[in-house]
């Protein structure tokens, strides 16, 4: 039996080797939506990770830059420790005046500074306290007087009036006070309005014949982008920027002849009459009056009205144009990190970041007598796409608050506009943004 058993095993093993049975077509239809759905969170996770990375780097840079700063603590500590001595002096160069007393002040906080400070403990100073000095004093105190708490805050009125009873201290060197020196009296926030013409094109890593044919018939159109951006200056070099932009991208699809007046011949009740293949997906006509026919090689148009069924010239349809114009509009939410490379009369910044682009409009039309003749829309476009951007910004300061900006920016779309095509085509755009920004 064993031998017979092995024999029957071989019959089946050899007989079924390489045997194939075509599965029903609906199996793939059930598989694809599942794997597509599972991939989507991965794209979102990648986007979230990128944004988190940008924010983390910004925060880390901010923290590091703060930790490295020798704050004005030493000055203040010295002030408190030596309050009883007639004169306080540190290694700080620029003298300013300051009215204060040490521990005694704490016991009588209700009294004015001038009243509390005994004359003998203070070296008389004939210099009038200037308002910038007071500003510095206030900032210094708020930053670093923790060791001296509770500390009496001298009323400004009495401070200004106490011409005689003042200490003489020196202002810290500016290089140790980047907060004062770099921000130059302006705020950390700024708002900018920018706009740019944009050149849109795409990279194609797909070598298939149809893909090459489609690419060859498509030409980019100059479109535009613009919006408002807010930025926050993290430190002297880094700032983070976000905002709201609107951009429009477009291309010409050549070799498609459009005719008008088809409606009277159209008897079907289908959702669309013509489907035009493009690298960004299929264009479906929604204008019942339009008839399309491809002039170039390849099957670019899917329709039941093929040339052997319907001849637009015999039917005397009105020729319109041989080019379609395909446009997409996006609202963009960018997160951008800016690094100031040069801080001179014209600042130069390196700019990099990511942007979420929400599709708000897509249209396909052709031109007739300078006007638009609607054709249809592109189907299956991703409602959200993610792009990365890299650029170099030049900033010319017109005043402390106002500046002119010029930013050549390259943008690469991380996912194709249309996933249905399984495309290896990744769009990119280039624009030179210009505008003004206001610091506050």
């Amino acid at each position: 039996m064993d031998e017979r058993g092995a024999n029957i095993d071989l019959v089946f093993r050899n007989g079924l080797k390489d045997f194939e049975v075509l599965p029903p077509p609906e199996v793939w239809d059930n598989i694809h939506p599942v794997i597509k759905r599972k991939q989507r969170p991965f794209i979102l996770i990648r986007a979230a990770a990128l944004i988190t990375l940008v924010i983390s780097i910004s925060f880390l840079t901010y923290r590091l830059s703060r930790e490295k700063l020798p704050g004005p603590d030493n000055t203040v500590i010295a002030l408190n420790e030596e309050a009883a001595s007639p004169s306080i002096s540190s290694s700080i160069d620029k003298p300013i005046t300051f009215a204060a007393e040490g521990n005694k002040l704490l016991k009588n906080p209700s009294k004015t500074l001038a009243e509390n400070i005994p004359d003998k403990a203070i070296e008389p100073e004939n210099k009038m306290t200037s308002s910038p000095d007071v500003a510095y004093l206030q900032e210094t105190k708020s930053l670093s007087m923790n060791k001296a708490k509770p500390l009496y805050e001298p009323p400004l009125a009495s401070l200004n009036s106490s011409r005689k009873n003042t200490f003489k201290i020196k202002e810290p060197d500016e290089q140790f006070l980047p907060w004062n020196s770099t921000i130059k009296g302006t705020g950390r926030w700024s708002i900018a309005a920018m706009a740019s013409p944009t050149y849109y094109s795409k990279f194609n890593s797909d070598n298939s014949e149809i893909s090459k044919q489609l690419m060859a018939s498509e030409q980019p159109l100059i479109s535009y982008s613009g919006g408002v951006a807010f930025s926050y200056k993290i430190n002297k070099r880094f700032s983070i920027q976000s905002g709201l932009y609107y951009s429009s991208l477009g291309q010409k699809v050549e070799g498609i002849n459009s005719f008008g007046g088809f409606q009277k011949y159209e008897n079907t009740k289908g959702d669309h009459n013509f489907e035009v293949l493009t690298t960004n997906g299929s264009v479906y006509t929604n204008n019942a009056d339009v008839f399309l026919i491809a002039t170039g090689p390849g099957e670019r148009i899917l329709t039941s009205y093929t040339s052997d069924v319907f001849d637009p010239e015999k039917a005397s349809l009105q020729y319109i144009n041989n080019t379609l114009r395909q446009f997409f509009s996006y609202v963009e939410l960018p997160i951008v990190l800016r690094y100031k490379v040069v801080d001179k009369a014209i600042d130069i910044n390196l700019i990099g970041g990511v942007s979420y682009n929400l599709l708000v409009n897509n249209s396909v039309y052709t031109m007739v007598d300078g006007g638009k003749y609607p054709i249809g829309t592109t189907k299956g476009l991703n409602p959200v796409s993610l792009s990365s951007s890299l650029g170099m910004g030049m900033e010319y300061n017109l005043s402390d608050n106002l500046s002119l900006n010029l930013e050549p920016t390259f943008r690469y779309y991380l996912n194709p506009f249309n996933e249905v095509t399984g495309s290896k085509i990744h769009p990119y755009s280039f624009g030179i943004f210009s505008g003004v920004s206001y610091k506050f």
């Binding site: 017979r4 029957i8 079924l16 045997f19 599965p23 694809h32 599942v34 794997i35 399984g422």
Partner: protein
């Protein structure tokens, strides 16, 4: 980079065209495997569907060592076994007495003339437990010890099921061969 590696890379990047290409190239062979393990076409479709979803989900774990087709086949077989284990309690294998008597002598059989479709048909008529053991042992080449672990049965039961499966198959093959000969002779 070989073509299959390019397709795998495309699938990992979420490229729909490569995913479909991978499916189209291998679905027919794997569907035949599914039919071997299933009792009906609906079950075979489910196995193929679940198997391919697992293949796509686990593509990043494929180490490009050994045959990719073999790797996909193992996933498909494992999916079939999962289904089998889930339905294990529903299957009865004591229906061997219901098997019709052979109309040919199993000791003197001529297996020639049987096509793959006939063999598949014969194998699918086996009771589920015999079918699984026979497929794993005779077609996939697993040992009884391995089969025992895979199907949650003892090694002895695996041997016994294989023996019974072979008996049934020999009878059925005899029947098919006899019928075919009679048809051929008019």
């Amino acid at each position: 980079m070989s073509e299959i590696e390019k397709i795998i890379k495309g699938c990992l990047a979420g490229n729909r065209r490569d995913q479909e290409l991978l499916y189209r190239r291998h679905a027919a062979k794997l569907y035949a495997v599914c039919l071997q393990y299933s009792g009906n076409n609906e079950e075979a479709r489910d196995i193929l569907q679940e198997g391919f979803i697992k293949i796509f989900e686990n593509l990043n774990h494929y180490k490009h060592e050994g045959s990719f087709e073999g790797w996909m086949r193992r996933i498909t077989v494992n999916t079939a076994l999962e289904k089998f284990r889930r339905r294990h309690s529903l299957y009865r294998v004591d229906d061997i007495d219901l098997i019709p008597e052979p109309d040919a002598d199993p000791d003197n059989q001529d297996y020639a003339g049987l096509e793959a479709a006939d063999l598949l048909e014969i194998i699918r008529e086996l009771p589920p437990k015999y079918k699984v053991v026979f497929n794993l042992y005779a077609i996939e080449g697993y040992s009884h010890k391995e089969i025992g672990k895979m199907v949650n049965i003892s090694e002895g039961t695996s041997k016994s099921n294989l023996f019974r499966a072979r008996v049934i198959l020999q009878r059925r093959v005899g029947s098919y061969t006899g019928i075919k000969k009679r048809i051929a002779n008019g």
